[in-house]
Amino acid sequence: MFTTLKNRFEQGYRTCNYPQEKPAVFSRYRGRPIVQKDAPPEVIQACAAACPQEAIDTSAKKIDMGRCIFCGTCEQISQGRFVRFTGDFEIATAQKDHLITDGDLPALAEHSKQHFKGLFGKSLQLRQVSAGGCNACEADLNVLATPFFDLARFGINFVASPRHSDGIVVTGPVSRNMRTALLKTYEAIPEPKVVIAVGSCTLTGGPFVGSPEITEGLDTILPVDLFIPGCPPHPLTNLHALLTFFK
């Protein structure tokens, strides 16, 4: 009993104050990319050629955050002259085309569905479906339940059945083996329902683009309300997306 109490005091209060205060992330974190439009064309070409995700549009000088895995190759190659990744983790969007960006993102709050705020603003129950993910997106959603993020204090919970939920959070490239299970889960949720796509794989197919085993974008089979980019998205990216879109 004494050990239990001693431990409790040592642990203290660990919950972050987000969204009132933004917690600091280490400087090597790669969040919202900013494109320098006046970069030399050969630098832009070199970045596009080296990008493993073909996420760079050389003519529009934009990056597709849906494809991007935030590896930072373009930043290293251009030494920041074309692309620079900032520490800004608030990068989710309500429309897929907003993911294609030069650094300016439309404010998520203005594009969120207002009736959702009324319906789910005080209580949002979500079912997570891992549709062939690598466990990184899943793990960084899972940590939202730990004391540091404490998602439950906002009335948002992950539940164990689609029947108990208001929506699904999908991760992974929706492999052929998981497609039917995912669609059945979606059907099992009572209307009105929310669909949230998390991670590069789910948004576009990620590194698996071109494979017949996967679905290239969850939005090709379900109506997606919220797009959260990253590989995986930082837990704070997920938290920002959920709070801004539904609160």
Binding site: T4, N7, F26, I77, G133, N135, T146, P147, N177
Partner: protein, 244 residues
């Protein structure tokens, strides 16, 4: 098991360790750190210092929460003799990682196929004999502390990192390669085949959970349903790494 404090404390502490990976390479899961031929981010003195300071802070916390868990008589009573997998069954099923070591299989890729600096680390066998929940938890207990010690010893080495550049060298054509590594759930294996132009023809990753799910099934033979959650967690299996 109705003893939630350690679960919550470890949940938070685990995040702190993931953040240390982000400190090194900008990604909590180490994505983008390793490329064929080396690493893309250096371990400079600033990073070393932050790592060292954070570890100094976290290590006693880890130790205290471990002690909290293992010194509770109720926990030990629940762990011991629950869901035992015999050494014979574990061998037959090919269990890997901490689950295998709990059932007396000493296989550890770091020890059995040491590459790079692993030769100098003197990693112990860490095997137990009972194969029950207690053994699986105790293997983790030992290895968590060993891992922290290994990281501390590596930070202290004054090695300068030479990063690889971002140009991907062409892969050898018409080749087949298999790699194995000890990940935190056990042996992870990557296999790749290249075509005659050096392009990837087929790439397959095998997760440790691929072996260990059958261990869970075996541990639950002739037990009550109430033993399922405890055994399930003690094997710490990945759904993603198995059948999706």
């Amino acid at each position: 098991m109705a003893f939630l404090p350690p679960a919550n404390y470890f949940g938070r502490i685990r995040g702190d360790f993931l953040n240390l990976m982000l400190l090194i390479c900008g990604n909590r899961f180490g994505k983008g750190l390793v490329r064929p031929g080396g690493v893309r981010f250096d371990l400079n003195d600033d990073v070393r210092k932050t790592l060292d300071n954070r570890l100094k802070e976290l290590k006693p916390q880890v130790k205290h929460v471990l002690d909290l868990l293992f010194s509770a008589s109720t926990v030990r009573a629940r762990f011991e003799d629950c869901g035992a997998v015999s050494n014979y069954d574990a061998e037959q099923l090919g269990l890997v990682g901490p689950a295998g070591r709990a059932s007396g299989i000493p296989y550890d890729v770091r020890r059995c196929f040491p590459t790079e600096h692993y030769l100098h680390l003197n990693i112990p066998e860490n095997k137990k004999t009972a194969g029950d929940v207690y053994s699986r938890a105790k293997v983790r207990y030992d290895e968590v502390l060993q891992s922290i010690h290994i990281i501390e010893s590596l930070i202290a080495l004054p090695v300068e990192t030479a990063c690889v550049d971002n140009t991907l060298n062409p892969l050898p054509p018409s080749s087949f390669v298999v790699t194995i590594n000890e990940a935190w759930r056990g042996e992870v294996s990557h296999a790749m085949i290249t075509d005659k132009n050096g392009k990837i023809l087929r790439y397959k990753v095998k997760d440790p959970s691929f072996h260990n799910w059958n261990g869970l099934a075996m541990s639950l033979r002739d037990t009550g349903i109430s033993d399922f959650p405890l055994n399930n967690k003690s094997f710490n299996l990945s759904y993603c790494g198995f059948d999706l």
